[in-house]
């Protein structure tokens, strides 16, 4: 019994001393290399400084302004509006009239051109002897 008391007492003392030394070593190591923590950054709101910007000019018309990135360039482009004019839309297909050498050399060639043009109008495209 006495033997066991001494045994446990000595074990407790060694455990305490070893634990203490380990704790001291750990503390010293922590002091030596300090952990650097990243500072929280402040997020700035992104404002574009270059590119296309849609604005309204003093006359009340919408327009796009191109502001250059490296150059001090400012180009204003008016907004594209589809004009309701008939000529802008290519409704009729391109016409082609075909002739041979003999036809082109004949005296009635111009009459033939007129007639073929009429035929092409009706067909809406190509006409002629191929």
């Amino acid at each position: 019994m006495v033997y066991s008391v001494f045994y446990y007492a000595s074990e407790a003392i060694t455990r305490f001393t070893i634990g203490l030394t380990l704790k001291i070593l750990e503390y010293m190591q922590q002091r030596r290399r300090r952990m650097v923590e990243e500072k929280p950054k402040e997020e700035k709101p992104s404002v574009p400084t270059w590119g296309f910007f849609s604005t309204t000019n003093p006359y009340g018309v919408r327009e796009y302004v191109w502001i250059g990135k490296a150059t001090n360039l400012k180009v204003s482009i008016p907004e594209l509006v589809k004009l309701p004019i008939q000529a802008h839309e290519l409704r009729k297909p391109p016409t082609r009239l075909f002739f041979t050498f003999a036809e082109a050399a004949s005296k009635n060639w111009f009459k033939e051109i007129e007639w073929l043009a009429e035929q092409a109008e009706k067909r809406g495209g190509v006409a002629g002897a191929t």
């Binding site: 000529a87 082609r96 009239l97 075909f98 041979t100 003999a102 036809e103 050399a105 111009f110 191929t130």
Partner: protein, 140 residues
């Protein structure tokens, strides 16, 4: 371009060689842009949509050809075979292209015979046509 003249030609074509300077002179006189496109025998010309439209074969002449052609078939046979083999093309093709304000329009004329009597009327016809087209297109 509002009005232009294009000639599709081949480098080895003697008819093109005769026609090009004459047309160039006409166009220079009328101050119209003139372009010569040298295209090979295998290229697809203005008047055709694909190479499949070329019918120079003996079988075609036997079936659909005229009586005159059938009579001369024996003589023509080797030439036809050769043309079929190389995929021969008709040259020159004169393309007169103009824009009337609404759409582009074209007149394509195939072939030219510099030795025939018709060459003179052909050239004068083209001259007249270009002159009238120029007055219509440019309004002068």
């Amino acid at each position: 371009m509002l009005l232009e003249v294009i000639v599709e030609a081949d480098v080895q074509c003697p008819r093109c060689e005769k026609l090009v300077p004459m047309l160039r002179r006409i166009c220079d006189d009328l101050n119209i842009p003139f372009i010569v496109k040298y295209i090979g025998s295998r290229a697809v010309a203005a008047h055709e949509e694909s190479v499949a439209s070329r019918t120079f074969s003996l079988e075609w002449v036997e079936r659909h050809g005229l009586q005159e052609h059938k009579k001369k078939l024996k003589k023509i046979a080797p030439i036809l075979n050769y043309m079929q083999r190389i995929g021969a093309q008709t040259f020159p093709n004169v393309i007169i292209r103009w824009h009337d304000g609404v759409r582009p329009k074209e007149i394509v004329i195939r072939g030219f015979d510099p030795y025939g009597k018709e060459a003179k009327t052909y050239l004068s016809n083209i001259y007249m046509l270009l002159k009238t087209l120029k007055s219509v297109v440019y309004r002068r």
